[in-house]
Symmetry: C2
Subunit: 884 residues, 2 copies
């Protein structure tokens, strides 16, 4: 096995063999860029080291010695040779960048003897001893495990003693004393001395790099970022160049384009008379690259161009100037903000540097979410006082208000308020409408507050269990003991779940021209359609603005839930006969009709999938516990018997409707089979609205009527007949006839398992992956996320929260099976997905591969979905490149 190569011998090897850093250095060497010569020990050596149970592979050091001799000959120096000392930098370098590992030891090859001759040879004693104390310090810390702050303490003491501010100002004598103290420190702490033998230094440093691959921080990092444990790290041994040789030397970092805005202009910082780590450590203020002298700047610009041209991406590079000569020490793809990522990708495609497919593939769809909501100003540092579930994205500030009516009143006057409640109920809708955002201490991602806020596009943080709300005295207290009273201003960040005291400035979302261009490219590449989950005309308009090709899910619950309608809905529920129920439904009809008309108008001819009522009836009544309490309070206060009786009547109805597991109870199509008049009203409203829109605006509507919670083909067949009869009544009453589709949610395992039968009665399927995840796992989302999901993720029992990232092994298997069998049974069947996974990139890729026709997601996720759908299509063509 050959493990060790000079950089020029390693050209053509992959980053998996050379590590990321080594790959960059080898490539730059091959390009003829000024890289200090060096040697790469491949990741294979590290793997072998672990295969041997933590022993250096036989022959490895001999190989190193051999190559080092060549290296020394090349630069005309000798390792450990005081006459012409060769100093080395040893750097770790794994295939994926891993901040958890050992980084760098500089100046290896110095010892008590060599330092003296170095001082003589350079005529710079300060430089020589500074280099030596750096070696001892880095070596002691990273190769021998002495705590870094012990070195810093000594250094600090000397700086005080000599009355200087920066290391660099320390006189040679001080540095000599520091070197001695450092050596003593190491002996004291480790029982072994700092090795004077340069070979020992090198060997120890190489082994330290290998060991660092498995230190706890590195392991944790890998687990978090899902990096395999068996990749190993490479070691790079490079001839030292010195940025700290005086004012004609220095070190810096550069970005080939602005990592914050994406602007195509060299960007970076430079610190004269410094070594690499000084810039990062921030001990002195560096200067901007643009302010360098013209010659150096232009040289850098030229290098940057070469780098970009070769690596075909924005590069983040490190460089050193030694006595006026420029060296490149590292290059890698640069980290960037979402905004910069978009601009860079689009610019590079337009420059012809990369293809449009590459531009689209390079954007992480999850990251662009930050561009789509009013968000916390990223330039302001904040410290959250609590953290809950990030139920509805975006940031909002306002006065804390606990009472819904008060929130509605203040909001109505134009005051900004945040409604804070243990949980919300339909009674709180008016407060939510008036508020900037909602904060609850209970409930999960599908709690009332979360669902309604997402529907309204309002920020919400829910299930914030660390705050204790005292509703009576109107304050809440955080786990950290902060008490927030009514009227205090807070900011909530629904994107992260953070709650912050005071008002934090926010910035507007923006679809920049580059972003629009990128999405247009994505649209050309994708096969999956992208629709929106939108329940209101506002949401529908927003969805169109973001590029939705229709509404994949228009829930009708909210239409029932609005304050002026809720009393009618309750009348319907309390009805003692079908006749009474129909009377109440007749009163609801005009409201629904108006809702649908607005939404249809907003969607201008695109398909609109309306899901008929799904919620169980008791959701529209107050909870029993509350009623019992109220009844007792009324008794204690001596309220009139008639009022109490009225309350008791409601209580009886609530108890009668009560269910052990409402999620699996009498709701959705099951309710409609018992009370078909509810769907009859809704279908009448939908079709009448479509006909009126056609008449008033000459705009056709792609009406798709969707039934919830079907788990048996006969349910669909039974209701389809009722829907078709209702349609005939509408057509004969209005004298018009329009086409419409009838389809079903697939949100129970049985629906998926019997898709071939259901498909015979359906024009379309839409996977409700939220409920499908609940039933497939047997997880009640509200309960699971509140009680044990965190523990499951912590213990690694689940890799992802399956309500966020589709569980492909279970839920996904059902999705794939139902799509295949459904389409086989009915080749006209259209298949989509309208669960929250419809906006999650890795899930979208799965849906693409499973053969779905479209995804539907919340309006703000539409651009994410467009991008992810395009990436899925590209990835299927050519196995996607691994993004590092």
């Amino acid at each position: 096995m050959k493990y060790v190569r000079l950089f020029e011998e390693a050209v053509g090897l992959s980053r998996f063999e050379l590590g990321g850093k080594g790959y960059g250095l080898v490539e730059m060497t091959a390009l003829g860029l000024p890289v200090p010569p060096g040697i790469n020990i491949s990741t294979e050596a590290c793997k072998r080291y672990y295969a041997l149970g933590g022993k250096m592979p036989e022959g490895l050091l001999d190989e190193v010695k051999l190559k080092l001799e060549k290296l020394a000959a090349k630069v005309g120096k000798g390792f450990g040779d005081p006459e012409k000392p060769l100093l080395l930098a040893v750097r770790s370098g794994a295939p994926y960048s891993m901040p958890g590992m050992m980084d760098t030891i500089l100046n290896i090859g110095l010892n008590d003897e060599v330092v003296k001759s170095l001082a003589k040879l350079t005529g710079n004693e300060r430089f020589a001893y500074d280099a030596y104390r750096r070696l001892i310090q880095m070596f002691g810390k990273t190769a021998m495990g002495v705590k870094g702050e012990l070195f810093e303490e000594i250094l600090e003491r000397y700086k005080q003693k000599f009355g200087v501010k920066h290391d660099i100002e320390l006189p040679p004598d001080a540095l000599k004393q520091i070197v001695e103290e450092f050596k003593q420190l190491i002996s004291r702490e480790t029982g072994r001395g700092f090795p004077q033998d340069p070979w020992k230094q090198l060997e120890t440093a190489i082994e330290a790099v290998f060991k660092s691959w498995n230190n706890p921080r590195a392991r944790e990092y890998r687990r978090f970022y899902k990096i395999p444990d068996d990749l190993g790290t490479a070691v790079n041994i490079q001839v030292m160049v010195f940025g700290n040789m005086g004012e004609n030397s220095g070190s810096g970092v550069g970005f080939t384009r602005n990592p914050s805005t994406g602007e195509k202009r060299l960007y970076g910082e430079y610190l004269p008379n410094s070594q690499g780590e000084d810039v990062v450590a921030g001990i002195r203020t560096p200067i901007s690259i643009e302010n360098l002298d013209k010659k150096l700047y232009e040289e850098l610009v030229k290098l940057a161009e070469k780098l970009e041209h070769h690596f075909r991406d924005m590069q983040d590079f490190e460089f050193t100037v030694e006595n006026g000569r420029l060296y490149l020490l590292q290059t890698r793809n640069g980290k960037r903000t979402a905004q910069a990522a978009v601009k860079i990708a689009v610019d590079m495609a337009e420059e012809g540097l990369i293809t449009r497919e590459e531009a689209v593939s390079r954007i992480n769809p999850s990251e662009i979410m930050q561009l789509l909501h009013r968000r916390l100003d990223p330039s302001v540092k904040v410290k959250p006082i609590a953290k809950g579930l990030n139920a509805s994205p975006g940031a909002a500030s306002g006065k804390v208000i606990f009472d819904t009516d008060e929130a509605a009143a203040l909001g109505g006057k134009g005051e900004k308020v945040i409604l804070v409640r243990p949980e919300t109920t339909p009674d709180d809708i008016k407060g939510m409408i008036a508020a900037q955002g909602v904060l609850t201490s209970r409930g999960g991602m599908t709690s009332h507050a979360a669902v309604v806020a997402r529907g309204m596009g309002k920020p919400a943080v829910v299930g914030c269990e660390s705050i204790k709300i005292n509703m009576e005295e109107e304050y809440f207290e955080t786990g950290g003991g902060v008490r927030v009273r009514k009227g205090d201003v807070i900011t909530i960040d629904g994107t992260s779940g953070a709650v912050i005291l005071g008002e934090v400035p926010t910035v507007e979302p923006e679809l920049t021209p580059e972003f629009r261009k990128l999405l247009a490219w994505a649209d050309e590449m994708r096969r999956l359609g992208v629709r929106a989950n939108a329940d209101t005309p506002e949401a529908a308009r927003k969805a169109r603005e973001f590029g939705a090709e229709g509404i994949g899910l228009c829930r009708t619950e909210r239409m029932f839930n609005q304050p002026e309608r809720l009393p009618i809905v309750r009348e319907m529920i309390m009805a003692a006969s079908e006749e009474e129920r129909r009377r109440a439904l007749d009163k609801l009809l005009p409201f629904q009709l108006a809702d649908f008309k607005e939404i249809f108008k907003a969607m201008k001819g695109l398909p609109v999938t309306v899901r008929l009522l799904d919620l169980p009836l008791h959701e529209f009544l107050p909870p029993a516990e509350q009623l019992i309490t109220e009844i007792y309070e009324m008794r204690i206060k001596g309220a009139p018997e008639s009022e109490i009786a009225e309350k008791e009547k409601i209580l009886r109805k609530v108890q009668q409707l009560k269910e052990h597991n409402p999620m699996l109870g009498h709701r959705g199509c099951r309710l409609a089979i018992r009370y078909p008049e509810i769907y009859e009203m809704q279908v009448t409203a939908i079709l009448t609205a479509a006909i009126e829109v056609l008449r008033e605006e000459c705009e056709t509507v792609g009406v798709q009527i969707m039934l919830p919670l079907v788990s048996e083909a006969n349910e669909l067949a039974y209701l389809r007949e009722i829907i078709e009869k209702t349609a005939e009544r509408v057509f004969s009453k209005t004298g018009a006839r329009i086409p419409f589709k009838v389809g079903t949610m697939i949100e129970t395992p049985r629906a998926a398992l019997t898709a071939s039968s259901i498909a015979l009665h359906a024009d379309f399927f839409s996977f409700g992956t939220n409920d499908l995840t609940q039933t497939t796992f047997g997880f009640s989302r509200d309960d699971v996320e509140a009680k044990f999901m965190a523990g499951y993720l912590e213990k690694g029992i689940l890799k992802n929260n399956p309500f966020e990232v589709l569980d492909t092994g279970g839920v996904g298997r059902l999705v794939k099976l139902a799509t295949e069998e459904g389409k086989k049974a009915n080749n006209k069947l259209e298949v989509g997905i309208c669960g929250e996974h419809g906006g999650e990139p890795s899930s979208i890729r799965f849906f693409h591969e499973a053969g779905l026709d479209y995804v539907s997601c919340s309006p703000y996720r539409i651009p994410v979905a467009r991008l992810a759908a395009a990436q899925a299509a590209i990835a299927r063509k050519e196995k996607a490149p691994i993004t590092i």
Copy 2:
């Protein structure tokens, strides 16, 4: 197409072509038995009739005419010929017996003219006019749609007028007048006269038979018994023989063996001077066949032997004696009680008449359930006052008691009580233990009352929604307005769900010697193992007695739920720290240890599968609504603040533990992952118990530890490690080491879908088809059965309640898939099922075919399962014969 055949021409055709009655007649003709000659019109003619939209197939009547001529020639008579009148009986006869259809019209061929000559020819005017009035009456009713009671009224009037008791005593003149009145009645009611043309009579009768195939009663009957709608009915036209020719004539029915006991002895009834329908109508008291004159009796015995020998089953036959000559009019397999069915099958096998496989196949496993519980004495007629869900089989009588403590007190004194409650909670256990049975007005088949009662083997009727319980005044009222007060005696029948006022005698269950023999044969034939769901030593002993080969499900909830343990369980739940929790668990350990020892001893070395705790913790605390009410009541009554505070503390815990959907919440293995100490205690108790039993009784135990609610392989892997560590602690503490298996319930769709991963960590799977049905359909059983299952069955949306009969398309598909993939991944995997479907015959057949290793069911279902498993094995060998 040939539709019409003389009986002798039809030999070898199937009952699908000839109908059941026709098949019997043709077979008997072929055997040379004395069958009146006749013609069969095959079911094809009826199908054709409907294919033509309700029109007689062309040429059909010509065919009939042709065959009729042959028939007439054979008997030397002429149809419609007054000189030698041929009279005919027309009878319907579908492939499956269908009481909903037209049955018989006798004496076709008589008219005003023929009757006169018949009177002359027979010299029996009374006979002739009686035959004529019978024809007009039957024809009017079944072929012309005149209400039967209108004829009866006329007949009754004449009997009064002539002062006679029986039709037969009416003088000829009276009969003549009746004939006239009948004819007028038909004209008045139908606007058409009774047809004098014999051919018209025959044609109309044939068409009436065809039409009767689709009358509402017949359709309903077919839907109920799942008989296809497209089979059609045959028509049998037979030469009349007359049992009403005088004292030397008569008619009777016979059974080749006793249909009630199975005894091998001719059994039946005979009515002299009567026609067939008279016996059934019960107008006069018939005499027992045994009391017939010896010659006739011996002739019948011989015929019966021939019939049995040919049809190889007990026959129910009809016969007529005309002037001393015996005719057989029908034979079919006789209906019988479960007890008789068993005896007959076993006897016939021992006689060599049928094989043992046939004997086993012939018993309907569902029916033998009635042999396995104390049941209502079948000889006593009862009228239920209400009907609920048949939650736990068996019958019990006792005084109605509403208060648990009172029930416990009275029961302790030896009084028989029935505990009546809206629903039960763990607090009611002591009352349930003391009671004979339980009746609740709420809850489904898995409600607390249902589950606990089944576990105890006590009769229970639950969800009896038609009764309104007034707990304060201690009475309940039925829908029919019956008020039952505390102390009144009622009987509940948990097998049917009936509630009966007063005490109804019951009979003991019995395993007759024949039954034991049949089961022993079944055991030799079956491949599936049969285990029991048993939570107590008594249940375990009962299970062994009934032939269980182990315990497939021993639930531990009940051990937590017992009165003396509940306070400790609550202490565990209220614990503020792990340490406190462990202290409470330590106190529970000895109880569990003792429980397991008893059960292990009862099972004497057979495998015992113990399911670790499954219920969510809040199940062991009172419901919030109750606590709120109690707290207010305490306030109002001025109870001490400390007591109120204590209650409020519990309320807070209850609210904290509260879940939206407990079925899908923090329970089963999920709870154990959060609080492993609960399972550690249980595993310690199980293994210690097994070791102590081994030491004390030298009896090994097949310990199988089962985890509930796994939906992800990592859950099992995580807990398996904890279980194994706990086992090591037990082994090192006791100094013994015993083998044990660890496995999992498969009760969520995801567990089934990922069975190949889960199987890698499991020694066995056990399908929890109750929960799997709930999650696959998205059905909360308690809610679904209470709110809409009845409607679904009524509307035909579901064919069966999937909680009773396995849903093969959805749930079954998962069972099959998980069995196949689980066994493929782990070829040592043992796969069973412990849901309620484990005792349901058609489901057992599915489990056999899906490749499971065993079924587990309640002890009383064990014989059912043994039989059904054998039938499944037989059916797989040779496609099972259709039992009619």
